[in-house]
């Protein structure tokens, strides 16, 4: 297990490295520098500023400085907000994004697994059909539309929940964003879980367990869940990046101050430093979470460890 973990970590390092390199190249290939304003700066000031940001060095040197900075958690200056460095901005936004994403991920995974199991056990009866409907809604309606609809219904017309804002992390202000984020994720998971559960329930060893007179609940808990979870867990990795894509929209629509919002605003303002810093942070986050998912996968399916 430990060996497998080390192998996966070594496999993930090049991806992080390639991402940083590609980001750096794109940033430097982009037309226009951060100090090309309407009014040209006096040459002395410009030289000073360029020296401060290492722009007077060769590209290779700049690259090593940037990589070194990233390794120490320093993503360089932000070009749109002069008072903060990219790292400071990310540090401000990260807790919000993590709270939002983590709640949505946990809730969606749990609901998806349970719903898929219930549907599989009640195959072709009303819980199953209900699930198909709910899944369809989650997969078909794009998250930005869903966000607007829920906002209007619960925030504006019924006034049950706040239509936006963070409000110091009150649970009510999290309900709608988490719902929007979690719904499609839960939908995909429940569909996978239903399929694999039906398959597992049809296997010989489950029939053997039944013939020994073991009750339904014990069969599900002891024998069926673990193998049925394998396809679900293998989806969690790609599912994370779906969730992240969703959080870009959700933060924007509900006005939450997370890094997704920084990313979009930075993209609209052409703040290259912030865009690339956010991207690298996202990629590193996803790689770490994927490693965790891989560990769970290896625990569930012993075959994986020895591949």
């Amino acid at each position: 297990m430990l060996q497998y973990a080390i192998r996966r970590i070594l496999g993930a390092l090049p991806i992080a490295f390639i991402t940083i390199t590609v980001c750096f190249i794109i940033m430097r290939a982009a037309p226009g520098g951060p100090f090309d304003g309407e009014r040209p700066l006096p040459p002395v000031v410009l030289a000073n500023v360029r020296a401060y940001y290492h722009l007077d060095k060769s590209l290779i040197e700049q690259y090593f400085i940037y990589v070194g900075g990233v390794l120490r958690g320093d993503f360089g200056p932000s070009m749109s907000s002069y008072d903060h460095s990219v790292s400071e901005l990310l540090a401000i936004g990260l807790p919000y994004t993590l709270t939002l994403g983590f709640s949505a991920f946990v809730i969606a995974t749990f609901i998806g697994i349970v719903a898929g199991m219930v549907a599989a056990v009640n195959q072709n009866r009303w819980p199953d059909y209900l699930l198909v409907l709910v899944v369809m809604i989650g997969v078909i309606i794009p998250n930005f539309l869903m966000a607007s609809i829920l906002q209007l219904v619960f925030g504006v017309y019924l006034q049950w929940l706040p239509a936006g804002g963070w409000r110091a992390g009150e649970i009510t202000s999290l309900v709608l964003p988490v719902t929007v984020l979690a719904w499609p994720h839960a939908a995909r998971i429940s569909r996978l879980m239903r399929g694999s559960m039906i398959e597992v329930l049809g296997t010989n060893y489950i029939r053997t367990a039944r013939s020994k007179g073991i009750g339904q609940r014990l069969i599900l808990a002891r024998h069926a869940i673990k193998p049925a979870l394998i396809p679900v867990v293998s989806y969690l990795g790609p599912g994370l990046s779906y969730l992240l894509t969703g959080s870009l929209v959700v933060e924007q629509v509900f006005g939450l101050p997370g890094i997704g919002r920084y990313f979009i605003n930075a993209a609209l303002n052409r703040d290259y430093g912030l865009v690339l810093g956010t991207t690298i942070l996202y990629v590193i986050l996803i790689l770490i979470l994927n490693l965790i998912v891989d560990m769970i996968y290896a625990w569930l399916d012993p075959k994986v460890r020895y591949r």
Binding site: P142, N143, F144, L145, S241
Partner: protein, 307 residues
């Protein structure tokens, strides 16, 4: 003399038929079988009808519209649907006819979907077929790369490309197409692995055909079934991605419009002008629903073992 059961009569008739050569009993081919299954799938047939209707209306109707998408009606700003002024779906804040803009937006979304799907399918087929056919180490490296890409939030890279190189539609097509090929590559590789063991490929190899020609002439044509299915399932994803980007203000730009742009514009003013949000949302959801049902129907029809 005719027997009591009339067997002789039937046999005679059958013999005559055979002699005429007409109506000879035909073996049912696979594709005909598939078509029959598809025709019997009511949801898929209705969906095909809906989709064709949307496409035809989006491309034909603008020729007959009383208002042009960019034309400003100075006498009707923010007008609700009104048949007397020929604004059947009302006008927006700038006095532009929503129906005309909706048709243009639908057109744009369809064009993006088709071009991007073409790009993604081409990349996916070539990548998957080469990996599957080459096998061994090449295959391992190529598929490991796909695994890695799966985990990355490529939407961020599209956004970066769009930010840095400007919001040109062509870039949007290629960018979206270039991120949606992973699943296609996996499926094609799987199919290729089994195809390359077939006798006709062996025959081609024995007669000295070069690998690239074998892939293009002998393997790719045999992939039609799965490719069609997954292309159909890719289109809705691409439509969602495009409208997602447009919703965030990073996709199609004014005066051009797309369903995502229209929804974004409409969502902000829904409380005062609900007629701006409902029609584009309905068209988008209808299209996604229809495409999903067609994709599922095709999969059931062409790949019965997957049911």
């Amino acid at each position: 003399m005719a027997g009591i059961t009339g067997k002789d009569a039937i046999l005679t008739e059958y013999a005559e038929q055979l002699a005429r050569g007409a109506d000879a009993p035909k073996g049912r081919s696979l594709s005909r079988d598939a078509l029959r299954r598809l025709l019997r799938n009511r949801a898929a047939m209705v969906s095909i009808f809906v989709l064709v209707a949307i496409v035809v209306i989006a491309f034909v109707a603008p020729a007959f519209m009383p208002w042009q998408p960019r034309q400003v009606d100075w006498s009707a700003f923010r007008s609700p649907p009104n048949a007397d002024t020929l604004h059947y779906l009302g006008t927006d804040q700038n006095g532009r006819d929503l129906l005309a803009r909706l048709l243009q937006g639908t057109q744009m979304s369809i064009i993006v979907a088709i071009v991007a799907t073409f790009v993604s399918v081409t990349i996916g087929i070539l990548y998957g077929a080469i990996a599957g056919y080459m096998g061994g180490r090449v295959d391992a490296i190529m598929m490991r790369f796909v695994d890695m890409m799966y985990a990355l939030p490529y939407i961020l890279f599209v956004i970066i490309l769009v930010v840095i190189f400007g919001r040109k539609p062509i870039l949007l097509f290629i960018g979206i197409g270039a991120i949606e090929w992973l699943t296609m590559a996996r499926i094609v590789r799987g199919q290729t692995l089994s195809l390359k063991e077939k006798e006709f490929v062996e025959a081609a190899r024995a007669s000295g055909v070069r690998p690239l020609s074998i892939i293009l002439r002998h393997i790719v044509p045999n992939l039609t079934g799965p490719v069609v299915i997954y292309a159909t399932l890719t289109i809705p994803e691409i439509i969602i991605t495009e409208s997602f980007l447009s919703y965030l203000g990073l996709g199609v730009q004014e005066p051009q419009t797309s369903l995502g742009t229209l929804i974004s514009d409409g969502a902000g003013v829904f409380e005062v002008m609900p007629w701006l949000l409902v029609p584009p949302a309905v068209v988008l959801v209808l299209m996604l629903l229809a495409l999903t049902y067609i994709g599922d129907g095709l999969r059931d029809a062409l790949d019965p073992k997957d049911r």
